[in-house]
């Protein structure tokens, strides 16, 4: 679903340096997470070519594949011959929408690779286009010596991928690869019958635990109190997580950004609503019993 031809043409008309306009990337709000969607995704994390997303982080010397890498020990077709990058993605914004959180967070952690994951094609493209435009603007500013316009990282450390995270998270990330996962204003799916479509569940929390390293955190925020209670119940009830105390939460810059910079967060602000925040820490796997 790339949008009707007219919208698409308008999107294409803009010069590279100009920011994309949201109105050309609007898309119906809900995509069924159970459908196949003709999604494109890597078979396994090794197959993913991240250099397309973070070209500034492409390894300059062709990185030798380590000897113990399963790829080198296979003797048939699947060799993943693509450029390597110097570090792994560490922060994932799941259901990132138009990417407000990412664009605010990236300059605050310029040494860390951030990835937005979004199931809607047009919305994903918006974030990608915006990142591209910002990078070019930064390039120009840098060439013209406009120091005051430069932001740390110059937006080279953020990207966005179309993905159904409820099915394909393990295709993208290795065990323990991530240090932070954001779940900002997830779709509430009010009906009990639809709770399986919620992005937080006992079963999915096991996958979040798998891709998070011990000590890593899941950040949640919502304007729906009931969903907040649900998410807290599901994470507190999962042996892989513990809730982070209030003091630590309030001291965390990421929480402030999450409250103030997400598109949904801003809307709630305008409507004078409440925002419910909860953060959970990934605890180490228990010893075998």
């Amino acid at each position: 679903m790339a949008g009707p031809p007219k919208k698409r043409q308008k999107r294409d008309d803009k010069p590279d340096t100009q920011m994309p306009q949201k109105k050309f990337y609007r898309q119906r709000a809900h995509a069924n997470p159970f459908s196949d969607h003709d999604l494109v995704y890597p078979t396994c994390p090794e197959e993913m070519d991240w250099s397309q997303h973070y070209p500034a982080f492409t390894a300059t010397i062709p990185a030798g594949v380590p000897k113990d890498d399963p790829i080198t020990t296979t003797d048939w077709d699947d060799h993943y011959l693509h450029p390597r990058i110097t570090q792994d993605v560490e922060v994932a914004d799941i259901g990132c929408g138009f990417g407000g959180l990412l664009f605010a967070l990236a300059p605050r952690m310029p040494q860390t690779l951030l990835l937005g994951l979004e199931i809607r094609t047009a919305v994903t493209e918006f974030v990608q286009e915006k990142a591209k435009a910002l990078r070019i603007q930064q390039d120009i500013a840098s060439r013209e010596g406009k120091e005051q316009d430069l932001v740390p990282g110059q937006y080279q450390n953020l990207s966005c991928l179309r993905a159904n995270t409820m099915k394909f998270l393990p295709n993208l990330f290795q065990r323990g690869q991530l240090s932070k996962i954001f779940l900002c204003f997830p779709d509430p799916h009010f009906k009990a019958r639809k709770h399986k479509a919620r992005i937080v569940s006992a079963a999915l929390n096991s996958e979040y635990a798998f891709v998070l390293r011990p000590g890593g955190k899941v950040y949640t925020i919502t304007d729906v109190e009931d969903l907040h209670v649900w998410m807290v119940d599901r994470f507190e009830g999962h042996a892989g997580f513990e809730r982070v105390g209030e003091e630590e939460v309030e001291g965390d810059v990421c929480v402030g950004v999450m409250r103030g910079e997400t598109e949904e967060g801003k809307k709630v602000e305008r409507n004078g609503g409440r925002k419910f925040v909860a953060v959970f820490r990934r605890v180490a796997d228990p010893d075998w019993v």
Partner: protein, 530 residues
């Protein structure tokens, strides 16, 4: 075929699931075969049978699952506890039936438990007390083999054949009133408000699902459609540990710890490009064989999540199709029937019929090696193909191009079970009154290539089982319904573009219908933009 032939065409209901139970002392065991025929479960011995005279032949014991309603639910899964004391059958009305198996092979139904979704995999754990059950919706549950609450337990001593269902449907009054899960006070964005209003405006809310009224726990879940789940053990840190290996339609194989730590995912075996439909853990090794819609079988070192090699099952299948000619008319017919119609959208505007791999069974079975010693091999079936493919376990890891041996059968194999060194294969020979419903083989290493396997008929065992040939499903059965019961694997394949709504973009309601999303249809356009 002339009209007369069609009218008089014999029809026999095949055995869709078979299993064996071993009873008695180790030195002189009695082995009973359990065979599911539509809604019925038969048990009969492969031993002790006086040769052939009709008087002495023991009739197969019948045990019908479920009620005697006109259309009784069909058995879709059958398994036996490791200690051989219990048999567990799943019927297509989502009910798990537990039977005790007597010393004489007689079955006695002990309990019926209705699961929330249709089970697709079931196993009794080595503790002989726990069942794990995976359902299509993606969830894996554990429940005790024998229901715990005394009131819920069917009274086996009273010989209750039809114990009360443990999950009675709630009556109208019992249904809890639906309560929307958010109030106007707790919703702040316009979008969420609209969604809530849309929901509140809807009239007939389905009530929250009644919790299952028996002890059970959710062990793990996939959002993708679950296709198989197996329990495997392995020594970790000097102790035997349990693992649950699950497979799904989205190409994943997941390794989780066994209960009570099943929330810990240890890793994934990723490499399949099409759905995974079957898993087979090779006993006493770290090997896992997986298959599905790919043209190859995958062999894994599962504790290390490492792909060891693949086997070209498509190549073996084409050999089998060629070989079908020598195997006679019915094999040729069956091979032809195994073709799938590919929609035009997949083939540049022209629908075509072709063979595809849809792995429907993976089993381990015994065979005699060159020295006459018993070893283990893996048997493979692809849905509707009248053939079995074999590869010895000790060749699974060889990097060299060991090929799969194919054995062309007269009809498609449905299930396989081993009794001693005999390999019993249940066949879909509904249209053929000549061939046996259960064909028995003895397998041995072939003389030529090292990995090749010969399938010899086991006449003796086939004769012993002849009583099962006489048991028929009562009444007529519908070919189409039987197909639905026996052949569900091919439908797992994803079709390009199939679930992308083919409606004008922006028509929210039509799109939602096309995508199966309800409840947000009332949202005005333009509001739904974040």
């Amino acid at each position: 075929m002339d009209v007369d032939e069609i009218i008089n065409k014999p029809s026999r209901h095949p055995y869709q699931c078979i299993a064996s139970v071993t009873k008695g002392v180790q030195s002189a065991p009695n082995v009973y075969l359990l065979a599911a025929c539509g809604p019925r479960l038969h048990s009969d011995t492969g031993k002790d049978e006086p040769n052939g005279n009709d008087e002495g032949e023991r009739p197969a014991k019948k045990q019908k699952t479920g009620s005697s309603a006109p259309s009784s639910p069909n058995i879709i899964k059958l398994t036996v506890s490791p200690d051989q004391q219990h048999a567990v059958a799943v019927t297509d009305d989502k009910v798990i039936h537990v039977f005790s198996v007597g010393l004489d092979g007689a079955l006695q139904e002990l309990s019926e438990r209705a699961m929330p979704k249709r089970p697709c995999a079931i196993q009794v754990l080595p503790d002989n007390a726990t069942i794990i059950c995976g359902d299509k919706f993606g969830d894996v549950y554990s429940l005790s083999l024998l229901p715990k609450e005394p009131s819920e337990t069917a009274d086996a001593t009273a010989g209750a054949r039809q114990p009360q269902s443990e999950q009675p449907q709630p009556t109208e009054q019992e249904k809890p009133a639906f309560k929307p899960s958010a109030t106007n006070l707790t919703v702040h964005t316009k979008r969420n408000l609209k969604a809530l209003q849309a929901q509140q405006n809807q009239k007939n809310f389905s009530a929250r699902k009644e919790p299952l009224k028996f002890e059970h726990s959710l062990l793990l879940g996939h959002v993708s459609m679950l296709t198989d789940a197996v329990f495997a053990t392995r020594v970790v840190e000097g102790k035997e540990r349990g693992f649950i290996i699950t497979a799904d339609r989205d190409e994943h194989i997941r390794i989780s710890r066994g209960p009570p730590q099943s929330h810990v995912i240890e890793g994934f075996c990723l490499g399949h490009k099409e759905f995974v439909s079957k898993l087979c853990v090779i006993p006493k090794t770290d090997l896992l064989v997986s298959g599905g819609g790919d043209e190859e079988l995958f062999v894994w070192n599962w504790p290390e999540f490492k792909l060891l090699r693949k086997f070209d099952i498509a190549g073996a299948m084409f050999d089998a199709i060629r070989g079908a000619k020598d195997a006679g008319k019915s094999a040729v017919e069956a091979a032809e029937n195994a073709k799938e119609l590919q929609p035009a959208s997949e083939h540049g505007g022209k629908a075509i019929s072709m063979h595809r791999i849809n792995i429907s069974g993976l089993w381990t079975a015994p065979f005699a090696n060159g020295k006459g010693h018993t070893e283990t091999l893996v048997l493979v079936a692809s849905e509707r193909m009248p053939a079995l493919f074999a590869v010895p376990v000790n060749r699974l890891q060889l990097k060299k191009r060991t090929e799969l041996t194919d054995c062309v059968l007269a009809h498609p194999p449905l299930d396989v079970v081993s009794i001693g060194n005999s390999v019993l294969v249940s066949l879909d020979c509904r249209s053929d009154d000549g061939g046996p419903l259960i064909h028995v083989y003895k397998l041995k290493q072939g003389p030529e290539a090292k990995g090749s396997i010969l399938f010899d008929d086991d006449e003796e065992m086939m004769h012993k089982l002849s009583c099962l040939e006489k048991v028929q499903a009562e009444g007529k059965f519908d070919d189409k319904k039987l197909d639905d019961l026996l052949y569900g694997v091919a439908s797992l394949r994803k079709r390009k573009g199939e679930d992308v709504p083919r409606v004008p973009h922006g028509d929210d309601e039509a799109e939602e219908q096309a995508m199966g999303v309800e409840g947000y249809g009332q949202m005005p356009k333009g509001e739904a933009d974040i």
